[in-house]
Structure formats: C-alpha cells, structure tokens
Subunit: 330 residues, 2 copies
C-alpha cells in the first residue's frame, strides 16, 4: 500500500534535541492551539492496576500540517525494578490527506521528554521574571533534569536548587543538572527553603499530595507545575492557584479535568468559570504574560497532543532529510 519509515530512538535523538529550535517549535504549536481550529480530542487513558501500569494515547490535528501524530505512552511503575524506564512508547505519523501511516517513531518516550521540557521553556519565556538568579527544581527524575536545562535556554540563571523526596536521588539529579546546564546545582534540604530562595520554581513530580503551599509564596515568584496530568495527581495546594495573580495553563479543559485547576475548583477556592489564560494566547500576543516584576504567576502544564503532532512531524522531516530509518513496504 505504501512505504512506512520506521525510526529508532537513537535516530530520533540525532534528529531533535532540546534546544531553542525545539522551544520555538513548541511555542508555535501552542499559538496554533490558541488561534486555529486544532482538533484535540480528550486523552484516551487505560489503567491496568494489577500490573501497576497505565497507557495514555494522545493525538491532535493541526490545520496546515501535512501529517498528524498519534502517541501511545505506557507507564509501568514496577519497570525500574526490572531495569527499565517507567515510561516508554512510540508515535505514529499519518498523512493528513489520507490517514495512511507514513512513519513509526520508536522513540521510547524521548520525543515526549523533549516536547514536555520545551513547554517548560515556553512557560519560562512568557511568565518568569526577567531576572532569575535562583531556579528551584522540585523532583529528581529525567523530566526534572530536562526542565532545568529548558529553563536555562530562556533565562540567565546563576544557580539551581534541587529538592527531591529521596536525598540521594536529589544529589544525583543536582550533579546531572550541573552537567546539563553549566550552572552550579545543589541540593536544598527543605522544600520551603528552596521556594523561599528561588525566583522561579519548576515542579516535575508524580505527587498525589500538594508540595507547595501558600505560606511558601513570595512576590515575584513564578511556578511551573508540570507533574499533574491525571485526576489524582497534584503538586500545588489549591490556595496557590487561588493566590496567583496570573494563572496560565497549556489547555484549559485539561487543567480543569486533570491538572492543578481541577483541585483548586474542587476545593471551592476558585470558581469553575475562573478566567484562565492559555499559554498559546500569550505566545500569539492575544493576552499578556507577566506584566509586573512582583506578580506571582503559575503555569500548569498537562501535556497536549498538539505538542506531539508538532514534534513528530518535525522529527520525521529531519529524519527524511538525513536519510535515516528502515523502510518497510506494506
């Protein structure tokens, strides 16, 4: 029927990396989401409790792009015991003219890591104070590390503080963040100490209980919360969302269903119809981002199919230019 290009993680790593180009591309994707009739159905999610596993499927159709992606993201929480990453998965890219599969991107979640980190950089670009001397990173996993790198693409940053539940894990993350960013990263003994000292904080944890509460807030603070992407996940106390002078998210419906807004509305601290700015509205110049140095701003990222389609279509283009991949004729 057609030739399908199969690309491996190694090849995809050689096509796309977390740099300013990737951040610009994801910023553009958010602007498109805010200004064009993008189709982005609710995430398909399946839980396999007896296996301690879950799978998410996301997709989006972006007018103007000649392809659309479908992303399958399994997460199995006993994988680390087996020497495997918790998350893996792949994307398929289809012709937007015919639906025919053009490519299978066996990225093991790599493109998701990049597009998620890049969204953090877009949030920093739009919302962080101009001058961020101290960046706080909450969490010690792969995405926490990439968020540090992404943030440093957008702001100068003198030093980075890292907090994680497990001090050894946090120490390892700090080491790796120093290597990735060229900034001095060290472990903060307390989370409240980290937030107090930081001009901007990024949370990247699978927490089911709020980590940051109202008492930790201070004028000028920006927080990007990118951990919560399911009903039960929660990184910010509802008061933090209520207190923010500007609350921004990647996609309003998703934040209200799966993200931090969900918990704030649930606690009765903000009205269901609270005015919410989407990140893409700021990128597109439709709404302002941070306007004052002492504003408290919060950005909730749940992850959107439009990011997946954007990065997948871009990765496929680069891979074709480089002549990468295995062609399978079907």
């Amino acid at each position: 029927m057609a030739d399908v290009l199969v690309l491996t993680e190694k090849e995809l790593r050689a096509c796309v990396e977390l740099d300013s180009g990737a951040v610009d591309m994801i910023a553009e994707a958010f602007a498109t989401l805010a200004t064009k009739p993008v189709q982005m159905p609710p995430i398909l999610r399946m839980d396999m409790e007896e296996r301690r596993g879950e799978v998410d499927v996301k997709t989006a159709y972006v007018p103007g792009l000649d392809g659309f992606a479908v992303k399958v993201s399994p997460g199995f929480f006993d994988n680390p015991k087996k020497g495997l990453a918790t998350t893996n998965g792949l994307m398929t890219v289809h012709s937007a003219e015919t639906g025919v599969v053009q490519a299978v991107l066996l990225d093991n979640g790599y493109l998701t890591d990049v597009r998620t980190a890049a969204a953090g950089a877009v949030a920093a670009r739009c919302l962080a104070p101009e001058s961020v001397s101290t960046l706080g990173i909450v969490g010690a996993g792969m995405q926490a590390r990439l968020q540090a790198k992404a943030f440093c693409l957008e702001r100068k940053v003198d030093r980075i503080l890292v907090w994680g539940r497990d001090p050894d894990g946090a120490a390892k993350a700090a080491q790796e963040i120093t290597r990735l960013t060229g900034r001095q990263a060290s472990v903060s003994e307390s989370l409240s100490g980290l937030v107090r000292e930081a001009d901007a904080v990024v949370t990247a944890t699978p927490s089911r209980k709020p980590l940051i509460d109202r008492a930790m807030l201070h004028p000028g603070l920006h927080i990007t919360a990118m951990g919560a992407d399911a009903e039960q996940k929660n990184e910010l106390a509802p008061e933090v969302v209520a207190e923010a002078e500007l609350f921004v998210c990647d996609k309003h419906e998703q934040s209200a269903r799966l993200g931090e807004l969900h918990h704030a509305v649930g606690a009765g601290l903000v009205p269901e119809d609270m005015p919410v700015t989407e990140l893409g509205e700021i990128v597109a110049g439709l709404k302002p981002g941070r306007t004052e140095a002492d504003q408290i701003t919060v950005c909730d990222l749940t992850g959107t199919g439009v990011q997946d389609t954007a990065i997948a279509v871009h990765a496929l283009k680069v891979a074709r230019e480089k002549g990468f991949g295995t062609v399978v004729s079907t």
Copy 2:
C-alpha cells in the same frame, strides 16, 4: 531498549484468516469481556472535517494475556477518488508486564476486517435460527462481503440476497460473495423484498438513516447490525429495536452511546435502563441466546478493543512461529 517486530499486511494475511479458528478466538474474547475485569476505555475519536477524515483509537487490557494492543484506525472518505481504501491503519502490541512495544502490525485495517466479520459469525452462532435458507446482506462494501463469508461458517445457507444503494456495486458484491462463500448470491431489487425473504439479515453500511423498519420484520428473523459505530450512524429504525424479543450487543455502553440502542432510547421507544444482553454473556453461558424458532432477535455490533487485543496478540504469536517480520532494534 528492545527489539520491535514490524509486520506487513501481506505477512499478517498469511498469519490470520477469517475461519472457524478466528471466530472461536473472537467468541472467547467476548466471553472474557463479559466475565473478567477487562479494561476497555471509551474510544478516542478525532474528526478532521476539512479533510473528510476521522481517526478512531481503541485499546483493551485483557487479564491473562501477556500483551495488549492499541489500534489506530483512520478513515478518509475521499480516499477512493485517490485509488485508496477509505480505511487503513495499524496496531501496536505492548507487553502487559512493562508496556514496552513488542510489535507494530502494519495491517492497513486487515485485522479489523477479520475481527469485525468474526464478530458477525459469533452473533450468527448465538442468535440466528438453526436453519437459515436465505441470508440477506445489506451493503456492498468489503465488510458486507466478509459478513456473508463469516455467516456461512456458522449456518448452512442455501442462497444469499444482496442489496446496496448502488445496483452496480451490489452486483459486484454478489459476484464476489458467490466466490467467497460457494453459495449462489444475487441482487435483490428492493430492501423490503430482501428482508421478507431472508431468515437472517446482516447490515454493513455507513448509513445515517434507518434502512430496516418495523414493517419489514417477520417471525423468526435475526438481524445483525454492524454498521453503526458513531453517534450519527443508524441502520435500524428505533421500532425494530423496540420490537425485538431479544436485543443483544457487543458492549452495552457502546451500543447506548454509538450504536442502535442510542437511537431507540433517543426516540423514547425503549427505556434507558432496558435490559440488554451482551454477546459474551451468551457465549459464556450466563444468558440464553435464541430460544424459540419464531423469535425476532437483533444484535448490534459497534466493535470493541477486546477484539483488537485478541486478534493482534494471536497474529503476533503466529508471525513469531513463522519467523515473519522485520526486527528493528531500538
């Protein structure tokens, strides 16, 4: 990370065909759906109206199977003008232990064709009269043809009548059905004539208006309606569902949301809490199928992720035994 087996349509056709084995496997899948804690989230569906396209994603986790499948099914309605089939797509198979992708089945919709036809055979097995002299097929597409073949695996059938909106298309379908089934198939000039003469009828159309109405019903008739799998699709007048002495479907929630039950409840002709038998309950012996020769029975098939997981896991097993496929190391 792991080796991924990529299989083509040609290879998959050599692994799985529409035969009694496939029907038994799909019957077993329905029984599992009715008796075990199968996880089967709502279908992810995206419409791309400006492209006259849509994509459905289905998945299911079946306890006991060592893998689960995710199926991506695009349908683009201008494809025939371009010399392409309307539907295409692929399935991915993942380890149920770790989520890691094990195989990519580039079947262009072939496995869906087989599992859908096999579901029709299961419906015939459970619900058609013992003696079906005349089978009526409504529709002239690929699935209409396969439904005829599937039905003949379960009942003797002397002759087959075919009706389609386009008489030329119906004539071609009748020719092909004769070839596929070894039974004499001919075109029926009127749909009401077809239903009147038939002991059992299978509808396999994308109709958005009811094709079969109450006046066409007669004692002993069995109807399998497999076309409607979206809110706007509809093959049976609401009165037909109301009149049926036994109404069966593959999955109650889906029939009530996307299938024939949806329209009957919407018309106020059956109560929302109408007792409904699922096909798997009959296969598992929990509820009776047809009990009387003169009963009117209706089966609504919407298509379920559990069929996809069952056929994909089976196809992968056979492909491995045969040494088929291209291994891509990721």
